[in-house]
């Protein structure tokens, strides 16, 4: 019988690819309720480790569970419980479930921003770091998720440094600023109206501020969130219901909401331009689906650019960007392989066998050495020496083996296996001692370089 740890990494969640914003925002877990949610998650039977990732584009639960199907069910229950108005049935069509390699690969892709609405944006990495910190504080993660999440962070960093994927997101917002400079020569006196809180739009808003824009107005469906954002950008919040009337005061309108319909019509823009006495307006629609009616293109002195236009502008500057995403995907595959090997090493049976083999090897070598020196021993005497060696070795490892077998199903099982491997320097198939320490030092250097303030503010 194969004695292996009953531990499976699973992810259950939904993202901008599977769920509309109405569902996402209902499920989103505010920072203030994170600890309660984590406690609740870990209280489910069979959930050994858990971490929650909640951003405006995704809500995901990563967990280590005893049993896959049961684990899926409990996490789904957990998600549905989080919001009373959502039943498990309503939720199901929007959810995805992955386990094992696919779950790890999913996390790596998310961290590397390959699954983001805007591939290459950097905020998601910060959000994962935040989620991890919260989980560490609540001790909701254990040896497996700690390792996997740390690895995800290092993979994301590798992807950012070794591919040009990050440049893509940056250049899209850069392209927006560059276009704005062809409409307005001096951005410092211009006003930016940020509609919605899409990550890309916020990135663009930050670029505008860096380029001299001093007046920022923010409007979001959730007034509280709008105020927070306005604070962050040193601007003012505008009630969502009023932003169309307020649009005339904005020279640059950045729209990025999850709305599935047009928020800004041709008439709205026509009216605004008229109120502005024909001063040009620059409208950037980064939403997918689009939030500004494309017919706005026909309005004189209004310049509308959607995400494709911006991307085309970026592509024009530099081609061959898809290759970068492909490179990144390959990196994810490689890194998942490394983690898989480490996870396999955590299984009890191979560990016990490795321990056995190692002990036998030591015994054999020592016995041979000793017997070589005692040439004139009789056969029974030789057997006696060998028996003594076997007995010492067996007694030394006996407790370890018993403990490993006993702890196989405890929540610390993996830790015992890892410890045993280290104590007896059994290594692991992936050589994770080397990789692991590299990851650790990476994490440490991150913690040293990331200011706490910047790491905060979860994104919804």
């Amino acid at each position: 019988m194969d004695r292996c740890l009953d531990m499976h990494i699973v992810v259950v969640g939904l993202s901008h690819k599977t769920a509309p914003v109405e569902i996402r925002e209902k499920l989103a877990i505010p920072e203030s309720r994170m600890s309660e949610a984590l406690t609740r998650l870990c209280s489910y039977q069979g959930v050994r480790e858990g971490i929650l990732l909640s951003t405006c584009n995704r809500v995901e639960v990563y967990a280590v569970v005893d049993e896959i199907e049961g684990g899926y069910g409990r996490i789904q229950e957990f998600l549905a419980d989080a919001h009373l108005s959502l039943s498990s049935e309503q939720l199901t069509p929007h959810l995805y479930w992955h386990q094992g390699d696919r779950a790890i690969s999913h996390l790596f892709r998310v961290a590397s921003s390959l699954d983001s609405m805007i591939v290459g944006e950097s905020q998601i990495l910060g959000q994962i770091k935040d989620a991890f910190e919260v989980a560490l504080t609540h001790k909701s993660t254990g040896i497996i998720l700690n390792k996997v999440v740390k690895k995800a962070i290092s993979v994301a960093k590798r992807v950012r440094t070794e591919t040009k994927i990050a440049e893509m997101a940056v250049s899209v917002s850069y392209a927006a600023v560059e276009l704005a400079k062809k409409i307005f020569s001096d951005l410092s006196e211009k006003t930016v109206l940020l509609v919605g809180a899409g990550e890309m739009a916020k990135l663009a808003a930050r670029h505008f501020i860096a380029s001299g824009v001093r007046h920022v107005r923010v409007t979001t469906r959730n007034p509280q969130h709008g105020m927070e954002l306005a604070d962050r950008f040193g601007g003012t919040a505008v009630p969502f219901e009023q932003f169309r009337e307020d649009m005339a005061s904005a020279d640059i309108v950045l729209v990025s909401t999850g709305a599935a319909h047009y928020l800004v019509s041709e008439d709205d823009v026509q009216r605004s331009v008229k109120q502005r006495m024909n001063r040009p307006m620059f409208l950037i629609d980064i939403s997918v689906p689009r939030n500004i009616d494309p017919a706005v293109r026909h309005v004189d002195n209004a310049f509308l650019f959607d995400i494709d236009d911006l991307k085309a502008r970026v592509e024009q500057n530099r081609g061959g960007r898809l290759l970068e995403a492909e490179k990144a995907e390959q990196m994810v595959v490689d890194e998942v392989g490394i983690v898989r090997q480490w996870l396999q090493s955590l299984e009890v049976t191979p560990t016990i066998m490795a321990l056995r083999t190692k002990a036998d090897e030591i015994k054999r070598a020592e016995v041979e050495k000793t017997l070589g020196r005692l040439a004139n021993l009789s056969e029974p005497e030789r057997e006696l020496v060998e028996a003594m060696a076997s007995s010492i070795v067996n007694k030394l490892i006996h407790n370890t083996m018993v403990t490993l077998k006993a702890e196989v199903n405890s929540s610390d099982g993996a830790a015992f296996v890892e410890a045993a491997r280290r104590f007896f320097s059994l290594g692991d198939a992936a050589g994770s001692t080397v990789n692991g320490s590299a990851v650790e030092s990476n994490i440490q250097s991150r913690e040293a370089t990331t200011p706490k303030a910047g790491a905060k503010s979860p994104d919804r």
């Binding site: 409409i183 020569s185 008229k274 006495m277 024909n278 001063r279 040009p280 502008r313």
Partner: protein
């Protein structure tokens, strides 16, 4: 000497025009530097030609079309160099230098001294100079308008070509358009007043409703409306660009009409 420098000026402006037009198509810094250099040397040669002529003729003959157009060309380049010096806006040269060249070539095609119509030379000088300065303002507004419409079209159609990258921001062009008219309009007003005065001296009536005078007044009313419209009902941006192009076309047509009819100096 004046004639020789005049020819040198024309040659340099011609070369600069070719070079500046090429600059529109190719992203080359060397091209813009060469164009600017030729323009600057041409301007120097032109200045010498104008001074030499003034000294040579001892300022007795009244200014005719030749002088007026030559002066117009000189002023245009002066304004361009001033804007270029301040804003490093090479591409403006691609529009203004050809205009200055056309004006200079037209000047060359016309006889150097106009028939004397009036003994009141001094008033006439002032009148012609002011009117021409006003026209220079409208010419720059026209160029800004053309550039505005091109940039507007490129942005709307999302054609990000070499020209797009060289043309300045829309609001800069709109501002240049406005400033040019703000400067040009009072000068034209003064030009019209001095013109009326000189007409009174020479013909005994301020206003004789001859075609030039009528058109001058129409022009004045038109630009007044353009300015007023900008301030009150938002005739700016694209509309201002169209209006200034139409306005300047009117000014040019008037000039051509006056020249062809063989009337006296612009009045």
């Amino acid at each position: 000497m004046a004639a020789m420098f005049f020819m040198v000026t024309m040659a340099l402006y011609f070369a600069a025009t070719v070079s500046f037009l090429a600059y529109l198509l190719w992203p080359s810094e060397a091209l813009s530097k060469a164009s600017l250099g030729m323009t600057a040397f041409g301007f120097a040669a032109h200045t010498i030609a104008l001074v030499a002529r003034m000294v040579g003729t001892a300022d007795v003959s009244p200014p005719g079309f030749h002088e007026a157009l030559s002066f117009f060309s000189w002023m245009l380049i002066l304004v361009f160099l001033a804007v270029e010096f301040r804003h490093r806006l090479h591409v403006l040269g691609s529009f203004i230098v050809p205009l200055a060249l056309v004006s200079l070539v037209s000047a060359a095609a016309l006889p150097e001294t106009a028939p004397t119509l009036s003994p009141v030379f001094r008033t006439l000088w002032v009148h012609v100079t002011l009117s021409m300065l006003g026209t220079v303002g409208f010419a720059v507004a026209f160029v800004a308008g053309v550039m505005y419409l091109i940039q507007d079209g490129l942005l709307k159609s999302k054609r990000f070509n070499v020209l797009y990258s060289k043309l300045p921001a829309l609001d800069f062009l709109d501002h240049l358009n406005q400033q040019s008219i703000v400067m040009g309009f009072p000068l034209l007003t003064l030009g019209i007043i001095t013109g009326a005065l000189s007409a009174e001296f020479s013909r005994g009536s301020y206003l004789s409703w001859n075609p030039e005078q009528t058109w001058a007044l129409v022009t004045w009313v038109f630009y007044f409306a353009v300015l007023l419209g900008r301030l009150t009902v938002g005739w700016r941006a694209k509309r201002a660009a169209y209006l200034t192009i139409i306005g300047f076309a009117g000014v040019i047509l008037t000039l051509i009409g006056v020249v062809l009819k063989g009337h006296g100096p612009v009045s």
